[in-house]
């Protein structure tokens, strides 16, 4: 179903690194529309533009040309400060290498976007605890990231991405650093989030199995959409 206000709307995106003869076109006129609640897997070889697309969609990088809007808000026109504020309130990011702050406790890591927004830990604790319970992290609040397994760390990263109830979660190879069982569990979790909470999830991956969990699979090639397939059948773990 096509809505008037999609989760992500990118139009004619161009991203060029460098200039002159050494210029590299990471994205070439890419247009994309992701509806709310969709679980989209973006696939492609190395250098196809997956990570660049993720950064542009997160407002971490401005496109050289074209526009990108998340939840109707055009990120490409925002200042750095505005896009940072928008990101912490409306976008969650999950990475392959977890990227937790090693010197903060698990609870503080999960609460990070809310704390960045100027809220106190006491104020956000109920929401943090609820998410940690949901992601089977209860009891790990005071631990450091170094005391967790890979799967637990990735769940902490996912909890952090979800803590602000974002419209959009962007994930970059979230299962790339996990064993197959844990990776499958993470994919199942993403599937549930999309189905039950209506969260939009865009996942960049090489993982062929991940496509089986998605509503839609987009193939990138040389910075442009080569294939866009809507999947009818969902596989459950």
């Amino acid at each position: 179903m096509v809505s008037a206000n999609p989760a992500v709307c990118a139009a004619e995106l161009d991203v060029v690194y460098g200039s002159g003869e050494t210029a590299v076109h990471a994205l070439r006129g890419l247009s994309l529309r992701v509806e709310r609640g969709q679980f989209v897997v973006v696939r492609g070889k190395s250098g196809s533009g997956k990570t660049t697309l993720l950064h542009v969609a997160a407002g971490l990088r401005r496109p050289t040309a074209g526009r990108v809007a998340v939840d109707g808000v055009e990120l490409s026109r925002q200042s750095e400060r505005e896009s940072a504020r928008f990101r912490r309130r409306h976008i969650g990011l999950v990475y392959q290498f977890f990227n937790l702050v090693s010197t903060l406790s698990v609870e503080h890591n999960v609460a990070l976007p809310l704390l960045m927004d100027g809220r106190s830990i006491a104020e956000v604790r109920p929401r943090v605890r609820e998410l940690m319970d949901r992601l089977e992290l209860a009891g790990f609040e005071a631990r450091g990231p170094g005391e967790l397994s890979g799967g637990q760390m990735q769940r902490v990263a996912i909890a952090r991405a979800l803590v602000a109830s974002p419209v959009l979660v962007l994930a970059d190879e979230p299962t790339g650093n996990l064993d197959s069982g844990t990776g499958r569990a993470v994919l199942g979790l993403f599937r549930e989030l999309c189905s039950e909470r209506g969260t939009t999830l865009v996942m960049m991956t090489h993982d062929a199995e991940a496509a089986a969990w998605a509503d839609r699979v987009i193939e990138l090639r040389d910075g442009a959409v080569a294939d866009d397939l809507t999947v009818g059948l969902r596989v459950r773990a």
Binding site: R87, R88, L93, T103, L112, P113, M116, D117, G144, P145
Partner: protein, 849 residues
């Protein structure tokens, strides 16, 4: 494995690439820190050595061919002894020498005039004088022909613009006199004494000029062939019967040696502080560069390099930096040495009227050793830790999150604290050892407290989060990520703050004590002198007829005539001051010290002496003891009535009544007068000025002027201290900048994560600044406390070296200003790292390629 042949060139290539490429900032910081510390150490070493060179040169020049000297201080040796000693069978030659320092009319500078027996064998050869047309003056009769003939050093002649046949005007005890230049002294032999600020006259002509007929300053004795010097010295001593001291040539500079030793010890402390800070800086810079190069090293290891090879690469980089930094440091040190020269010369408290010049600055093996040692220390500090990081960490395995929190070392702070308390309580510990121990233990305590402090921050994080929304929850996390670096930075800045804090207290204490000293002694008197007080130029004496005119002037209530001269005491030159105790004593001020002075004056007026506290400490002679002085009339014993304060170098001062002085020493005029008037002093001084103007220009210094001069004098002392403090602060600032740069480099991934999680660029900048502020606050708290502790030994060292025991005073306004400066310097040094933190965005590359 890679072949041995290729390891070295490849390592060098990678090092150069790194130094000129991505790690240029860190290599530059290491280079600058090594160069700065080497420059600081070598410049101070060179400057103090230059003073020593000047002293040795002066002593050598004055000694001429002599092997032994017979001296009796400024009072002089009876002239008759010259012939008596010369007639002894074991003596080949005995020649008299007089030295006098007179003010030159043409330039505001003093001139050291040496009186020689020009008829003695070798005198003219020793002088190397040139007459008209550059012809050597070999015939002394040309000089002996007139009593006002003088040979002037070429450097002084050039400075004054006079040449052969010209005249110079000097202030002699009888008033202004004109001397005729009969030749110029080549820059060798005697002309090298007093840095060339010298002229030569016939000894008897100079005697007459100085009104010192019958006395000479020293007799230079050359032993007959085959005579043992020790035996000859004993024979001479027997002959002089206590009226003079016999010493080996060069022993006269022993007082200077002591001053220079003290000075060099201070230099070493300053250099050690600088080297310590620079070492920390090098460690921080190189470890940051190594952190950034870990992927590169990991690649090398996967391609066949052993971890030991990587360590060698780092050692090679450090050695190259050491060589370049030391070379730069030596060059800068040579330039800086000349800047420090005037202050260091005066701090030696020996050459009051002369300053060493660039010709005395010479690199010695010891200078090179000090510089290389400092450079090596910095390079080793920069290489050892980072090499350890490089060999133990393999970047390709470093993707998992490291365990949070540093290893707890609860015992170290306790050990350091207990050590500090113990050192503070040991009563007989030498002040320098106390200072060094307290610095080392204080640095250890500061560094070891960082871990607990950061854990404390963790405990109050909820409160911080409320107090600093959006920032408080992350405060200190950057430092906790690199606890060792943070500990080192805090330790370094703590040492810098403690050092400067002690310097500030020392400076304030010295200034205040000096002011109290000049204010409390004779508060309502006016000082009359031929030159200004606290003036290097104050060498002229008040002429006897001028003094008589002052005494006769209407409105003069009382006059205290004072004379100052140096006498030998236990191998050192000690200042001897004669004053009219019965006049000055009752007119002392109302402070406790002044009352003590007044009480002592009563005994001094009866024939006792008083000694300064520095004298009492140096020679362990206190009130109630007796001291023995060599006078022109033989050895005399004096009872010590009490101790007073006085600023006259480490050897101190002996005070006696003028009548006692006159009973033993000959004098012409007075060094200065203290004058009390009835009613308004202005018309009285006008009358004195009118009556004496033709004979001798006079300087009148009242209380406020004296205080202003004392303040200016104290400020001169401040210049050296603040110069060193500024350098230390600069090094500290660079250390912090470096730590934070390292933190930002090591935390790029984390900072990028925070950006991804919604941190605004400004928030990241503020986070880095807040970490810097945290370091500053920790260091300020610890450094101020340590500085308080260091003050006691620093004041003790000052009292020992400069001869003025000072009361502890703190200038709180200056201290506050300094701490604000520290904070500003720390925040300023954090600006660039903060700027870098804003740019961290890319999370997909956990390490730099």
């Amino acid at each position: 494995m890679i072949g041995r042949t290729w390891r070295l060139p490849l390592g060098l290539l990678l090092g150069v690439n790194s130094a000129l490429g991505p790690n240029a900032v860190f290599f530059a910081v290491t280079l600058v820190s090594i160069a700065a510390s080497v420059a600081l150490a070598t410049s101070l070493e060179l400057a103090s050595r230059a003073v020593q060179n000047l002293a040795a040169e002066t002593a050598q020049a004055l000694a001429g061919d002599g092997e032994l000297e017979v001296v009796a201080g400024a009072g002089g040796v009876p002239e008759a002894l010259v012939d008596e000693l010369g007639a002894l069978p074991d003596v080949a030659q005995a020649t008299p020498l007089i030295t006098a320092t007179l003010g030159l009319d043409a330039a505001r500078m003093p001139l050291n005039i040496l009186g020689l027996d020009l008829l003695a064998t070798g005198s003219m050869r020793e002088l190397g004088a040139r007459g008209r047309g550059g012809v050597e003056v070999a015939d002394p009769l040309k000089l002996l022909g007139r009593s006002d003939a003088v040979l002037l050093s070429e450097s002084v002649a050039a400075k004054l613009g006079v040449s052969f046949g010209g005249a110079i005007r000097v202030h002699a005890p009888q008033g202004a006199r004109e001397l005729h230049v009969e030749g110029l002294l080549a820059d060798r032999g005697l002309a090298r004494a007093y840095a060339g600020q010298v002229a030569v006259m016939d000894v008897y002509a100079l005697q007459a000029l100085m009104e010192r007929e019958g006395f000479v300053d020293r007799i230079r004795v050359t032993a007959a062939p085959g005579v043992e010097l020790r035996e000859l010295a004993a024979e001479l001593e027997q002959h002089t019967a206590g009226a003079a001291t016999v010493q080996r040539v060069g022993a006269a500079s022993s007082a200077l040696d002591l001053s220079v030793i003290a000075l060099r010890a201070a230099v070493l402390i300053v250099a050690a502080v600088g080297a310590g800070v620079a070492g920390l800086l090098s460690y921080a810079a190189m470890s940051t560069a190594v952190e950034r190069r870990l992927p590169e090293f990991a690649v090398l290891r996967t391609t066949g390099f052993a971890s030991r090879d990587v360590a060698r690469f780092i050692a090679g980089d450090a050695a190259a930096l050491m060589l370049c930094g030391s070379a730069l440091g030596f060059a800068a040190g040579r330039i800086l040495a000349e800047v420090f020269l005037p202050v260091v010369t005066q701090a030696s408290d020996y050459f009051i009227h002369t300053s060493a010049n660039s010709s005395h600055v010479a690199f010695a093996p010891a200078t090179l050793a000090v510089g290389v040692a400092v450079g090596l220390l910095c390079a080793a500090a920069g290489a050892l830790g980072p090499a350890r990081i490089a060999t133990r960490r393999f970047a390709f395995e470093a993707r998992a999150e490291p365990a949070a929190g540093a290893r707890r070392r609860g015992g170290l702070p306790l050990v350091c604290a207990v050590g500090l308390a113990a050192v503070a309580r040991v009563p007989d510990l030498a002040p320098r050892a106390r200072l060094a121990l307290e610095l080392a233990l204080g640095a250890g305590l500061a560094g070891s407290l960082v871990g607990p402090a950061l854990r404390g921050v963790d405990r109050i994080r909820p409160a911080l989060s409320r107090a600093l929304p959006g920032l408080g929850h992350l405060l200190g996390t950057g430092l906790a990520a690199r606890p060792r670096g943070a500990a080192l930075a805090v330790a370094a800045i703590t040492v810098v703050i403690a050092f400067i804090h002690a310097v500030l207290i020392l400076s304030a204490s010295f200034g205040t004590t000096l002011l109290e000293l000049v204010s409390s002694r004779y508060p309502n008197s006016i000082i009359v002198s031929a030159t200004g007080p606290f003036d290097d130029f104050s060498v002229d004496r008040l002429a006897p007829d001028v003094i008589a005119s002052i005494r006769r002037a209407p409105g003069v209530e009382a006059v205290d005539e004072e004379v100052a001269t140096e006498v030998p005491f236990r191998g050192q030159d000690v200042l001897l001051v004669g004053y009219e105790a019965a006049v000055a004593g009752p007119r002392s001020g109302t402070t406790e010290y002044a009352r003590h002075l007044s009480a002592v004056a009563r005994d001094v007026a009866r024939g006792d002496v008083a000694v300064s506290a520095a004298f009492a400490r140096r020679f362990a002679i206190h009130a109630g003891d007796e001291l023995e002085l060599a006078t022109p009339k033989g050895l005399r014993r004096f009872h010590v009535a009490g101790e007073t304060r006085g600023l006259a170098g480490p050897a101190g001062v002996i005070y006696m009544d003028l009548s006692t002085y006159d009973a033993h020493w000959k004098r012409v005029g007075a060094s200065s007068l203290l004058l009390w008037t009835r009613g308004d002093p202005v018309p009285v001084l006008e009358e004195i000025r009118r009556a004496t103007y033709e004979r001798q220009p006079l300087f009148f210094t009242d209380g406020p002027t004296l205080r202003a001069r004392a303040t200016a004098f104290a400020n001169r002392f401040d210049v050296l201290l603040f110069g060193v403090a500024a350098l230390a602060l600069f090094l500290g600032g660079v250390a912090i900048a470096n730590l934070l740069l390292g933190n930002v480099a090591a935390r790029r991934r984390e900072l990028a994560l925070l950006r991804a999680a919604g941190a605004e660029p400004g928030q990241l900048s503020r986070l880095v600044l807040a970490d810097a502020g945290l370091i500053a606050l920790c260091a300020i708290a610890l450094g101020t406390a340590l500085g308080q502790l260091l003050t006691a030994p620093a004041l003790q060292i000052f009292a020992d070296d400069f001869g003025l025991p000072v009361d502890r005073h703190a200038d709180l306004a200056r201290l506050a200003l300094f701490l604000a400066l520290v904070l500003a310097a720390v925040l300023g040094s954090a600006l660039y790292p903060a700027l870098l933190a804003r740019r961290a965005t890319d999370l997909t590359a956990p390490q730099a390629e």
